[in-house]
Symmetry: C2
Subunit: 136 residues, 2 copies
DNA sequence: TCAAATAATTGCATTTTGCAAGTACTTTTT
DNA sequence: AAAAAGTACTTGCAAAATGCAATTATTTGA
């Protein structure tokens, strides 16, 4: 995917993220991949937000085009594909944790472990490293 | 705006953020308010991404409904309104800086000051405080 | 060979977006 | 006092994206 003025509305860093993640579904796939150990099309379909099959296929295609995920054939089953983060994708960890922290602070109904906020405040870098270690 | 299962697809913290910011425009308004000193409808319209008037009106309405911004009448002109962050809105600063950092790392065309990444790495809390001080 | 598993694509109705034009109220100018 | 300009929208309509259900294609396992 070429990055130029044809594909982006501006060269603003906030806008750059929106060009890839500015919709209601893409970040849920990132979440599943990052925190829930999901890796396949079927895995993503099972999430409680109920993404539909055409949207899922489209978003996975876009994530691959933007070099956030890499698609590979599963070793055990050639009709199954595994989606994994690229380094660029793994580097979204700090954003995702910050988003989680914001919801933890401002939405009492959000399902966040009770210790999350203090753990995050006291050991942000360790938490980032732990999530990363889990992905590698 | 009531927060319950009618208005949210799930109680996931990532999804909670998407319910408010999961589109291509809302975060640009947040950016303008947070980093560019913009405060009025006309200000937001001028941004280079060229939001259209109906979308802008809709997004400002939603941001207000979600208690991210507060709308007040301007002192100097009663046909002019000022949009300002609530505390919940100001608390988006860490997310916005993390998003900026990600684009700085992964998009060479993003307009980010050359010193941003080292400043951010060395003094994250100070940078957050500086942006916040600028808003108050 | 046939059923199951996996990953999609297709068609169509609904919703959202984008664009241009128009409206309403306030302030400034004459 | 009337006209023009400033500010913040709303409206109507075409185009694009989304959501849903059904169907297709390929590989695997019995």
């Amino acid at each position: 995917m070429i990055r130029n003025s044809d594909t982006c509305r501006s060269n603003c860093p906030i806008n750059f993220v929106l060009e890839t993640f500015g919709d209601r579904w893409t970040l849920l796939i990132v979440r599943d991949l990052m925190f829930k150990g999901k890796q396949t099309y079927g895995d993503f379909l099972e999430s409680e937000e109920q993404i539909s099959t055409n949207i899922l296929a489209d978003r996975l295609r876009r994530l691959e085009a933007h070099d956030i995920v890499q698609k590979t054939v599963a070793k055990d089953n050639r009709s199954k594909f595994l989606y994994r983060f690229t380094d660029k994708g793994k580097d979204l960890i700090p954003i995702m944790l910050e988003v989680t922290a914001w919801s933890a602070r401002h939405d009492s109904l959000s399902n966040v472990p009770t210790t999350f906020l203090s753990d995050y405040k006291n050991g942000r870098e360790q938490m980032i490293a732990a999530v990363r270690a889990n992905l590698d």
